[in-house]
Structure formats: structure tokens, C-alpha cells
């Protein structure tokens, strides 16, 4: 079956690319993605052109709904085509050959765009055919991850400069570029930025970006389906290979072995390799020694956790990108509080902006603390009735024992009511239970206290503030 794909000539492929674009324009993205995208170009047999689909159902559907248009488009493009024949061709190798030599029209790339293999994987289990549209592939890169959006500070300037160098250089300045640092500090951002920059500057250069984990899954799959040749082929034909989070193949010997060969083959051809990890090459436990030494023989650039200045700078830039008006106080608060990594810092900002838009409230320090409560507080405080009684007693300067006593003097009765009110508000305890904790009072007494405090809060502003303050103290 393989030969069928090997002799497809490049003219056909180019015509097919144009027809696909026309079809997409005509039927819209949704229908195109569901039905027409999986079509793959087959061969010419006399005046019949073959188009392959992965399942019989799809063939029937496409013949029924798009058959005529397909034929018309082909006839316009190619005078030799009299008839378009739709055949069922179960996916041969679900691994597309991103921009490989013109031996395989499946997933062939002619725009030299960034290729990625994810398509293969996602479709692998559904049996759908895989093509790598330029649009698809671009969708795999995060559009925000460009150099322009990378805020440079003391802690990441080396990694940034090295990434720039790779992106802007026509040759191979150092091989590999090894970026390492803790999670969420911008390694992936730099890799995507390299990919965007290179493909924009020179669309003929093929870039392949994937996570190490995906490399592994694809490799295992290729072994299982005996398609290792295709698997190897797709790597050997790229100009720049980027593997993210290489630490995920630590301890995976056969995957490492395969990666080692891929690595060497590309280095021999003077192709650029960029690798990222959470540790330096020498600290990668479970990585073969020979691979470790290869990984460390180019430029090793680390990214340190962002310092306060950089965190603040990132927040300011990001807020501007989001078009959000954020008080300085809030940004400073975030930069102080969220020190773990940049991803979480940006995530927090995203949440605040989205949440305040959602509920139509301006962003303040208070709303910020409220929205990020789950992040800022390591634990849910369990407010207990005892705690409430203690705090309230302190606040009103009465004895704790008076919470349980039978005394009815207003000086103790009012604080006791406030405590009952807060117990009702801040705990899930039932009214009878609250009553019991206040010296065995009836649940109707608690209900009365709740009503009374509600009334007083509505009437008396300073009382209201008192209760509010107590509530907040207990909640934080």
C-alpha cells in the first residue's frame, strides 16, 4: 500500500491544497473540520483521482454531500481528472509526516510551517485520518507566547538572549540549546516564541515542537503499529526540533534510546535542537549518561524564579494586554503574595480580571483577596462556635463564661446574641445545636437572636460595622 503514496507528485499536492482551501471557504470551518479535513490525497489511476477517507461511513457521507463539489473543483484544477473516487483507507500510520520529503502526501506540509504531531495522537484512537493543516498547527502554539510578551528580568535574561539568538540566527549557534528551570517560569513561552519567530521570518524552515511525553507516546505507538520508520522520518526532516520537558523520559530507556538517535541524526545534519527540562542536564536522574552529556554540550541556560521587580513588571504588562485597569495596590499585592511561579501569577491576574468582569465589580484589594481566597489561604479555617464565642467575648470585653450563663443584662445578652448570629452565619451547625452550645438554650432563642441582630445591623451603622469587622476577623 505504501507505494501508492510515494509517487504522488507535487503538482497534485499543490492542487489539493488549493482545493482544500476553497472547500473550507465554501462549507465553513465547522463542516470542513468534521468531514473534509480528514480526507487524504491518493493517486491518479488513469483519469480517476483517488481520495481516501478513514471509514465507510465517512465515505458515504462525503459522496452524498460533497461528492459533486469535489469533482468540480478537481476538474477546474486539473484537466486530467475526469472522476474523483472516494475510497476507504484505514489510517496507515496515524503519524503524519510533517513536511517530510514529497514521498507522503498524508499530512504533507508545503508551507514549511511549524509542524506538530499532536493531530496524530488525538485522532489515533478514533480512527480519523490526520492532516496537519497550517491552521491546526498554529493552533498548537500559544499565540501569546511570542518574544514581545516575554518580560525580561535579571532572572531570565540569559535564557531569553539564548532563545533570541537561536530564533534570529540562520545557522546553528549552539546545539542543543538547553533551557532549564522550575515549573511555570517561561521555558515553554521561549520555545513557542522561537517557533513563531522562525516560521514568520522564513516559512520554508520546518519547526517541530512537542513535549517529551508526547514523543514517548508516539514512539510507543509506532512500535505497536510497526510504523517506526515513519516515526523516525518525521524528525529527520525538520530544521528545528524542540522537545519540551525532557525530564518526562527519565527512566524510559527505549524512548531515550530513540531520542538519542534522533538527536544525533539531527546534529549530524546541522539541524537546531532546543530542549527544556526542570533541571540541568547533569541533574537529570534516570537519564542515560551519554544522553546527558549530549544535552549538556551546547548552551545550557537556566531560568530562576522571578524576583519581585520582574513579577510586578510581568503583571503590569499582562494587565495592559488584557486592557484591564488594575490599581497599583492590587498588582503589588499579587507580586508580593504569589511568588511560586509566573504561571500562577498570571493565572491569578486572569482570574481577577475575568471574575470582576463577570460580576461587574471594580477590582479592589478586598475583591482580590476574596477571589483568590482559595490560593492565598493554605487551609479552610474551620470556624468553630467556641472560637466565635471567644472572639466576641474579647471584642465586647465580657467573660467567656457569660456566653453560657443565664445572665440577661444587656451588656452580656447583646454580645451573646451577636455570637449566636455569627455561629448561624459562619458555621453549618443547626439552630438546636447552636442553642445547646450557648448554655442549653432553645433553638427559638437562637432564631430570635439572629432576627434581632439583623434588625440592629439595618438600623445602627456602628453596630453593623462592629459585626462586619468580627465576621471578617473570624473568616480570615
Amino acid at each position: 500500500m505504501t507505494e501508492q503514496w510515494e509517487h504522488a507528485d507535487t503538482t497534485l499536492v499543490e492542487q489539493w491544497t488549493r482545493i482544500r482551501a476553497q472547500l473550507r471557504a465554501e462549507v465553513g470551518d465547522a463542516a470542513f473540520n468534521s468531514w473534509l479535513k480528514p480526507l487524504t490525497l491518493g493517486e491518479m489511476l488513469g483519469d480517476r483521482l483517488r481520495i481516501a477517507v478513514p471509514t465507510r461511513f465517512m465515505r458515504d457521507w462525503i459522496e452524498e454531500n460533497y461528492g459533486n463539489r469535489l469533482t468540480e473543483f478537481w476538474q477546474e484544477e486539473n484537466a486530467n481528472v475526469a472522476q474523483v473516487e472516494i475510497i476507504v483507507e484505514p489510517i496507515r500510520a496515524t503519524v503524519p509526516a510533517p513536511g517530510g520529503p514529497p514521498r507522503s502526501p498524508i499530512g504533507q506540509r508545503h508551507d514549511g510551517d511549524i509542524a506538530s504531531m499532536s493531530g496524530a495522537f488525538e485522532h489515533a484512537n478514533t480512527g480519523n485520518a490526520v492532516t496537519t493543516d497550517p491552521e491546526d498547527v498554529r493552533a498548537l502554539l500559544d499565540q501569546r507566547f511570542v518574544f514581545k510578551n516575554f518580560i525580561v528580568g535579571r532572572t531570565n535574561e540569559l535564557a531569553h538572549a539564548a532563545a533570541r539568538r537561536v530564533a534570529e540566527s540562520d545557522g546553528v549557534p549552539f546545539n542543543p540549546l538547553f533551557l532549564f528551570g522550575g515549573v511555570g517560569l517561561g521555558k515553554t513561552h521561549l520555545m513557542h516564541a522561537i517557533a513563531w519567530h522562525i516560521t514568520e521570518r522564513d516559512p520554508s524552515r520546518r519547526v517541530l515542537y512537542m513535549s517529551a511525553e508526547k514523543f514517548m507516546y508516539q514512539f510507543i505507538r509506532a512500535l505497536r503499529f510497526r510504523t517506526t520508520m515513519d516515526f523516525k522520518e518525521q524528525f529527520r526532516s525538520v530544521h528545528i526540533l524542540m522537545i519540551d520537558d525532557i525530564q518526562f523520559i527519565c527512566g524510559k530507556d527505549s524512548t531515550q534510546e530513540e531520542f538519542f538517535h534522533t538527536f544525533n541524526a539531527l546534529v549530524d545534519q546541522n539541524r537546531q535542537i532546543v530542549v527544556s527540562a526542570d533541571k540541568s542536564p547533569s541533574d537529570l536522574d534516570g537519564m542515560e549518561e551519554r544522553l546527558r552529556s549530549r544535552l549538556g554540550c551546547g548552551l545550557v541556560a537556566d531560568i530562576h524564579p522571578a524576583d519581585y521587580e520582574l513579577r510586578l513588571g510581568i503583571l503590569q504588562d499582562k494587565a495592559e494586554q488584557l486592557g484591564a485597569r488594575m490599581p497599583d495596590k492590587v498588582l503589588e499585592f499579587l507580586a508580593h503574595k504569589i511568588t511560586s511561579n509566573v504561571r500562577e501569577l498570571e493565572g491569578a491576574l486572569n482570574r481577577i480580571v475575568a471574575q470582576s468582569t463577570l460580576v461587574g465589580r471594580p477590582v479592589t484589594l478586598e475583591t482580590t483577596q476574596e477571589i483568590l481566597r482559595d490560593l492565598l489561604r493554605a487551609n479552610d479555617r474551620r470556624v468553630t462556635i467556641e472560637e466565635i464565642q471567644k472572639r466576641v467575648a474579647e471584642h465586647f470585653n465580657i467573660r467567656l463564661a457569660d456566653m453560657h450563663s443565664a445572665r440577661r443584662a444587656r451588656a452580656v445578652a447583646r454580645p451573646r446574641q451577636v455570637a449566636m448570629y455569627l455561629a448561624k452565619q459562619l458555621t453549618a451547625r443547626s439552630l438546636p445545636e447552636i442553642g445547646r452550645k450557648f448554655g442549653g438554650r432553645d433553638h427559638t432563642t437562637v432564631m430570635h437572636a439572629v432576627r434581632k441582630v439583623d434588625e440592629l445591623r439595618a438600623m445602627d451603622n456602628s453596630f453593623n460595622e462592629d459585626v462586619e469587622l468580627l465576621k471578617r476577623m473570624l473568616e480570615i
Binding site: 478514533t126 493552533a139 515549573v183 511525553e213 526542570d278 482570574r351 463577570l358 490560593l375 487551609n379
Partner: protein, 239 residues
């Protein structure tokens, strides 16, 4: 039936099918934010959203409403043990991960979850997570995953206030085709623990008691049942 004290009738729990449509979901102050986030899909500022809240607060209900609306697959933490991430992620660009805190303390699941997350994020897709607690408080050994989860918007379903508790009781009774008066609801609300879980336990207990004794759900029956429903372990906990 000649005996004055009929023997307790054997009750078979034939199950009841709770109504799970969007229209059956009680939108109130305690879950309005979560509902607003769900309705806002796909306009989420990150590859995912976490909805968290106490047991029986309607997280899964809300998750299933979302899931049904966009035909996303639902996965559970246990699925991570025996299915491969590409299979779990599917190719729709949307997954509902029910009970996501089931990955806590299990590095193998965390790793699989990370890969599912990456696959979805790469497609520009979204994952909806539901859990009892927010990811910020989970013990996650895999730092890559933890930081991704922490960067997601997390929205809480708050414990019910009295009005919601009453409405929840009404719905739970209706699910079991039990007709109860407002006075019964009112009586229960003022005397029970204020949690979704307690509401479920109470209604189940009342249903069982009513069937067994062949009585209607009334205040006297409620008086008998209430002391026996116990309390949730963490009823003091606030989200």
C-alpha cells in the same frame, strides 16, 4: 393489617433518578458564580475551570449540564489508571473531569492528568474540573501539574443559606416524588445542619421511614427522624 404495631416494612432502595437538566439546577446566591462561569464557556481565561464545594452541593450536576451541552466526555480519577491520556483527552477539545481531587496522593494519576491537560490545552480546548476542595489545597507531588491547576480560575459553591436549603429539600423530595408541605420544610430548615449533605441524608431517611411505616412526611415524622441523621464530619468547614 390487623396488628396495631405493623412490622417495619422491608424497603428496597430502587433508586431514584435525580433530574439533572440545566432547568433543574437551583441557581441561588451560593452557586450563582459557578453557574455564571459555566454559562460563560468557552470564554474562560485559561484552559480550564475548577468548580469546588461541599459534598452534594451540585458540582457534578453542574458539570453534567456543561458536559451534556457540548457533548464532552466525562472522566474520573480512576479512569487515569487504565486509559491512556490521548484516549481520555479525545479530540473534542473539551473534557469534564469529575472528582478531580481523586488524583491527590497518587503520582501516577497526576502524571496522566498532566498529559491530558497538555493535550487539551494544546488544542485550545477546555477542561472542567469538579472537586471538594480547591487545587491550591491539594497535595500534588507533580509540580508541573500543580502550577497548571493553581493557575486556573477556581470557583466555589458556598454552603446553602436557609432559602437555598429549603429549595434543595423541596427538589430532593420532588426527585423522590414525595409531596411535603411548606411547614415541614420550614421546620426542617430551622432544625437541621445547614449543608447539602445533611439535606440528602435527611430526605433519604424520611423517604425510608415514610415507606417503612407507610406514613406521609409530616412534622411528627420529621421529629422522629431528625435526631438520627447525624452531622457531616466537617460541617464547620467553610469554602
Amino acid at each position: 393489617m390487623t396488628t396495631t404495631e405493623p412490622p417495619a416494612q422491608l424497603v428496597l432502595d430502587l433508586g431514584h433518578r435525580p433530574a439533572l437538566g440545566r432547568a433543574d439546577f437551583l441557581v441561588s446566591q451560593c452557586n450563582a458564580e459557578a453557574v455564571a462561569w459555566i454559562d460563560r464557556w468557552p470564554d474562560w481565561p485559561a484552559p480550564g475551570l475548577v468548580i469546588w464545594g461541599p459534598a452534594a452541593s451540585g458540582k457534578s450536576h453542574l458539570g453534567q449540564v456543561w458536559q451534556a451541552r457540548i457533548a464532552a466526555p466525562m472522566i474520573s480519577a480512576a479512569d487515569l489508571d487504565n486509559r491512556e491520556p490521548p484516549d481520555l483527552a479525545g479530540d473534542l477539545g473539551a473534557v469534564y473531569f469529575d472528582g478531580a481531587d481523586g488524583i491527590v496522593g497518587n503520582p501516577t494519576r497526576q502524571r496522566a492528568a498532566l498529559h491530558v491537560y497538555n493535550l487539551i490545552a494544546e488544542q485550545g480546548g477546555k477542561i472542567l474540573f469538579s472537586a471538594r476542595t480547591p487545587p491550591g489545597r491539594w497535595r500534588i507531588e507533580l509540580a508541573d501539574l500543580h502550577s497548571r491547576l493553581n493557575a486556573l480560575p477556581a470557583v466555589a459553591i458556598a454552603p446553602p443559606d436557609d432559602a437555598v436549603l429549603g429549595a434543595v429539600l423541596l427538589k430532593l423530595f420532588a426527585d423522590r416524588q414525595l409531596h411535603v408541605g411548606v411547614a415541614v420544610i420550614q421546620f426542617a430548615v430551622t432544625r437541621m445542619e445547614r449543608s447539602f449533605e445533611a439535606a440528602e441524608r435527611l430526605v433519604t431517611a424520611l423517604d425510608t421511614a415514610a415507606l417503612a411505616s407507610q406514613r406521609r412526611v409530616t412534622i411528627p415524622l420529621l421529629r422522629e427522624v431528625l435526631p438520627h441523621i447525624g452531622s457531616a464530619g466537617h460541617s464547620d468547614e467553610l469554602p
